[in-house]
């Protein structure tokens, strides 16, 4: 099992550009999450999904969009990149109700200049 995979590992965007951060898990987990990690701020939840076709906002959703068409994939879209979106993005998954551990991907380091 690969677990949770994320692509790309690194990306530099210009202000106003758009991109999609990919996240795939092969554990058949129903729940998936997107976090951003900023120095000294810990992890903040951007969006989450409890199953295919079901998504909801987390703490910091502004400037992002998500979709969940399959159990395996949970892409995060930045439509108009801004310097404030410079961060490290982590995707995580969890098998669902009654499960405690979240499994994290290796992260995508995004710089917006």
């Amino acid at each position: 099992n690969a677990g949770v995979t994320q692509t790309p590992k690194f990306r530099i965007l210009k202000i106003g550009q758009s991109m999609t951060l990919q996240c795939t898990q092969d554990m058949n987990h129903n729940y998936m999450y997107w976090y951003r990690q900023d120095p000294g701020m810990g992890l903040k939840l951007i969006y989450y999904s409890v199953g295919a076709g079901i998504t909801d906002k987390g703490e910091v959703p502004n400037g992002y969009n998500v979709s969940r068409s399959t159990t395996e994939d949970f892409p995060l879209r930045l439509e108009l990149a801004a310097p404030s979106q410079t961060s490290v993005y982590f995707c995580a998954s969890n098998s669902g109700q009654g499960a405690y551990e979240q499994y994290f991907g290796p992260g995508t380091r995004l710089t917006v200049t």
């Binding site: 000294g40 701020m41 810990g42 939840l45 995580a92 969890n94 979240q102 994290f104 992260g107």
Partner: protein
Amino acid sequence: AQSVTQLDSQVPVFEEAPVELRCNYSSSVSVYLFWYVQYPNQGLQLLLKYLSGSTLVESINGFEAEFNKSQTSFHLRKPSVHISDTAEYFCAVRGVYGGATNKLIFGTGTLLAVQP
């Protein structure tokens, strides 16, 4: 709603010395508590968790944490650290009756820097 406070952003320690990383939480309901570890340039991994029962929980690599309900704390300890323990450690909390989301609230992290 829950919140987590990790007051120490960085803890330098010499190899083979003991260490304690502090975590305090706030919640109006019963909680589950977690410590995650992030090694350089990697994602987070679960280190240990408290769900119920014994208030002292241990990891396979010698860390332990004690749930103290009266002090709303879940401090992480290790009696003798190794260079390989250098990492960022995150405390996280979740309400026991957190609904159908299993969302975690993370602290701001503590960088454990082990020096030879």
